[in-house]
Amino acid sequence: MIPVFGIDPLQVVGGTIAVAVLGVLAGLVFLGIDRKVTAHMQARIGPPIRQPFRDVRKLLCKDSIVPENAIPWLFNAAPIVALASAIVILLYLPAGSIAPVFGGYGDIILVMYLLTVPALAMVAGGFASGSPYATVGSQREMVTMISYEFPLAIAIIAVAWRLAAAGIADPFSIATIAANPVWSVVGPLGFAGCLILLVVLAWVTPAELSRIPCDTPEAETELAGGLLVEYSGRNLALFYLASGVKTVAMASLAVALFLPWNISGYLALPPAAGYAADIAFFLLKMLVVVFFSVSVIRVGMARFRITHVVSVYWGYLAGLGLLGLLLVVLDVAFGAGVIA
């Protein structure tokens, strides 16, 4: 094919379709594993891992109701935008040693902003539902977004800044961050700082994904499902898929930032087997991230009040993040680790 703007259209289209299919499948499997693991931690047996697939199939065969006082085009567009934008994030994140489809374009700051688009789509859908519950849910979702954005930005900036201080060119590109694990350039202080930032990122994940303890916007016991209260059938299924893909996106962002190692370099494998081993290892790392930042937190906590979400994320987690950033800065100031 003739390249357009330096991109091979066939490769981009094929890659996008592959990423979309694999992202959705992986998302549903992760949701299933999360539910199974959670059930075991609560001394239950829990649903089979393929339960999310059944849920989606069931939702697809149900009616999709559009409420009388909703804005139909926005109400129906929101789930599609949510799923599509969640898939777009995956196009920028590497999977194992496989470079992302849009690897050469956009950087980690772009990913940070793309992460807000699915949430914004949900907010728009909530406001378009014309239900007071959904409106309150949308407002809470916006407050949650404002709260977690700052700690997330600190974690991302600190890593990129440390790489820049180590003299690595183009530190904001995801390929650079994935190729140069931040742990390999920091000294002892920076190591402690990065550990703190890892914890901050692990706590941002449930807020990003609207899971317990930050499911305040959905809160089925007080808001009857919040944002999603009016959604049913196909539209609800799309949101369900989007939440799975978002889980994958957040997990692969955490992996790219803090756990970017591949194993094919350590094993003497033929290229194809090397790719497969890297993908398997990548999925394992994502599973670890999902386990600690979604399942364990979800089992151990109850839901925050919306005021608590703000004080915890703006106060404690932002403070913790700034402490981590300070340690990373001191690391450079004292000349520990790799410095340009």
Binding site: Q42, R57, K58, C61, I65, E220, T221
Partner: protein
């Protein structure tokens, strides 16, 4: 009807109290505990009738609740199942012939499965869900 094995294995439940004494509601909450763990079968309690496949109705339907019960029933997307939990929803039970009842439930909305008892044991309610699944499977067989 668009029924499928996935549908039977992923029943999301909405609980509606039409004026019960709260006995049956407590038993419904008891089913959701780890001891009975209905999530094994994909059963989940949801907060909105729009998400629900099964409507669990408790209580004898008082005057004030009639229109609300009908509206909640109509808000549920098809295909859907209605289960009536407790004796008072079937006959009035201890509230039989009371001045302020429009019920029993079966006269307000169509009911698929009745679970008798005042209140029924959690096992009985689970058995009712199994009966509902059996009914869905039968309907699925008839429609195909």
């Amino acid at each position: 009807m668009r029924l499928s094995p996935s549908f039977n294995r992923s029943l999301w439940v909405f609980h509606f109290n039409s004026g019960s004494c709260n006995g049956c509601d407590i038993e419904i909450v008891a089913i959701l505990t780890p001891r009975y763990d209905p999530e094994r079968f994909g059963v989940r309690l949801v907060g909105s009738p729009k998400h629900a496949d099964v409507l669990l109705v408790t209580g004898p339907v008082t005057h004030d609740m009639t229109s609300r019960l009908q509206r909640v029933y109509e808000q549920m997307p098809d295909p859907k199942v209605v289960m009536c939990i407790g004796t008072c929803g079937q006959s009035g039970g201890v509230f039989y012939d009371s001045y302020n009842l429009d019920g029993p439930v079966g006269e307000v909305i169509p009911v698929d499965v009745y679970v008798p008892g005042c209140p029924p044991r959690p096992e009985a309610i689970i058995d009712g869900v199994v009966k509902a699944i059996a009914k869905l499977e039968r309907l699925e067989g008839e429609s195909s």
